[in-house]
């Protein structure tokens, strides 16, 4: 599947909808994510940003529509394989009890891969936590925990990383640190990302393109500079 710009889409959502108890959380969302691209999803709270994101790794089931990953309908990919390829970092890190290294090893272990100490250390160094492997997760600050969550997601070597308000639960200082880290990681071009954020300035700093959601629908989309300059319709 090659689109008009001559670029092969990595992920393509087609008419994605999710209706729960008669309420449409997401309605007819269609968009494309290209390799190495960062796509921001912005909109007022309750507009369906997170609901949309949860459909992309099939943590929730679309009521209609589907997603194509490398041109393949994601309903034909096993959920575990899909979620290894489309990673997710949530607003809250939700680390598992144990050490930092246990958490980093979790994803690969599900696929039968045991990461070496060296591989764990390399991942921790990438997120700015060298030497943290043996620490118990209960002793981490909020920013450190979110970095571990990032390393844990990266350990699966995802093609797409879904970021759900990754800095909104953090204090200002930690927020700046995580954003700088994200900027570095995203610039590496190893994976594409969909970033859900309510912070327009953050979207402008990290993403190339942006989708604006309102009441479950994508109401505007395009290059981040054009869309966000056109003025924002939400607080």
């Amino acid at each position: 599947m090659v689109d008009t710009e001559g670029c092969v889409p990595l992920l393509r959502a087609v008419e994605l909808s999710r209706v729960v108890d008669g309420k449409a959380l997401v309605q007819g969302a269609t968009f494309t994510l290209y390799p190495r691209e960062v796509l921001a999803v912005v909109g007022p709270s309750g507009s369906g940003k997170t609901s949309l994101l949860r459909l992309l790794n099939r943590l929730d089931e679309p009521t209609s529509g589907t997603v194509y990953l490398n041109g393949v309908d994601y309903r034909t990919i096993s959920p575990r394989e899909l979620r290894r390829r489309v990673g997710l970092v949530m607003q809250v890190p939700y680390l598992f009890p144990g050490t930092v290294a246990d958490n980093v090893r979790f994803g690969p272990r599900q696929a039968g891969i045991i990461l070496s100490d060296k591989a764990v250390e390399a991942l921790l160094a990438r997120v700015g936590l060298p030497g943290y492997g043996d620490r118990d997760v209960t002793h981490l600050s909020g920013g450190e925990a979110q970095r571990v969550a990032l390393a844990r997601a990266l350990a699966n070597r995802p093609q797409v990383l879904l970021l759900d308000e990754p800095t909104s639960a953090l204090d200002e200082e930690a927020k700046a640190g995580i954003e700088a880290l994200l900027q570095d990681l995203l610039a590496s071009g190893e994976f594409a990302a969909v970033l859900v954020t309510h912070d327009l300035a953050q979207a402008a700093r990290l993403a190339q393109r942006v989708l604006v959601m309102e009441a479950g629908r994508i109401v505007r989309s395009g290059p981040v500079k054009e869309v966000l300059r056109a003025g924002s319709a939400f607080p």
């Binding site: 979620r83 979790f106 997601a153």
Partner: protein, 259 residues
């Protein structure tokens, strides 16, 4: 004192039931004062319990004369009712009735069958029905506790469960820590009751046998048999119920259902 007022044993028993019922009503009053919002449930349960158990007594009088198949039928009905009661504590867990019935059947039912086969449980209905019902009732309580705790754990750890799924974990791996916690919580009362057996309490069967004039040591052995069976049956039932339920919490596409 009551014995002198009511020389008829049946009448005496009824009055004794009345006295203890009033004691239990005091608890309902206290629950109301504490704003626990269970006082209605306590009163209804008391009344219901009394009517049920007296009816059962009357029915047993009749049933005990029937063949063994009647006993199996009675236990089967009890398992159905137990499944219904356990499911009521499941707070929206999917398919709770079916899971409860299957697991009580697989846990306690199978155990009862094996013990009858070995001759540990007699097939005489006055033995088979009460002993079987004790196993079923305790399995029911254990499943209730297990479901209740599982529901609480899943509510408290939804984020962790979904984080595990999002990292490519199977539903089994994602739910197992919480299934384990629920199993432990449901078994602790059983283990405690086994540990304190005879020291803190002289339980029902032994009390009954002593009242009936049995040798105390014989009564003690038989009581141990019952408590050990209850622990085994309850544990097998809870494990089965939690494994079945753990699987049902997820859709075929491995999504957590309870949101």
């Amino acid at each position: 004192m009551l014995v002198r007022l009511f020389p008829d044993p049946l009448m005496l028993a009824a009055v004794q039931a009345g006295v203890t019922g009033v004691c239990a009503l005091i608890v309902a009053y206290l629950a109301w004062r504490w704003e626990l919002r269970v006082e209605r449930e306590i009163v209804v349960a008391l009344g219901r319990g009394l009517v049920q158990v007296v009816l059962v007594g009357a029915v047993l009088l009749f049933i005990f004369q029937g063949p063994f198949a009647v006993g199996v039928l009675v236990l089967g009905l009890m398992i159905g009712v137990a499944g219904h009661m356990a499911a009521r504590r499941a707070q929206g867990l999917p398919d709770a009735f079916r899971v409860s019935v299957y697991s009580i059947l697989l846990g306690s039912g199978l155990l009862i069958g094996v013990m009858v086969g070995l001759g540990v449980i007699e097939t005489r209905l006055p033995v088979f029905i009460p002993v079987g019902s004790m196993l079923v009732a305790n399995s029911m309580t254990t499943v209730s506790l297990a479901f209740n705790r599982l529901r609480g754990e899943v509510d408290a750890h939804r984020g962790h469960i979904e984080a595990a799924l999002a990292l490519g974990a199977s539903p089994h791996v994602a739910i197992m820590p919480y299934v384990r916690a629920a199993l432990l919580a449901s078994l602790i009362p059983r283990v405690d009751s086994l540990r304190s057996l005879g020291i803190v309490w002289i339980p029902g069967v032994m009390t009954g046998m002593l009242l009936g004039g049995s040798h105390p040591v014989q009564a003690a052995f038989y009581q141990f048999v019952i408590v050990a069976l209850i622990l085994t049956g309850s544990a097998l039932t809870a494990m089965t119920a939690l494994l079945f339920m753990g699987r049902r919490l997820f859709t075929r596409a491995e999504q957590l259902r309870l949101r």
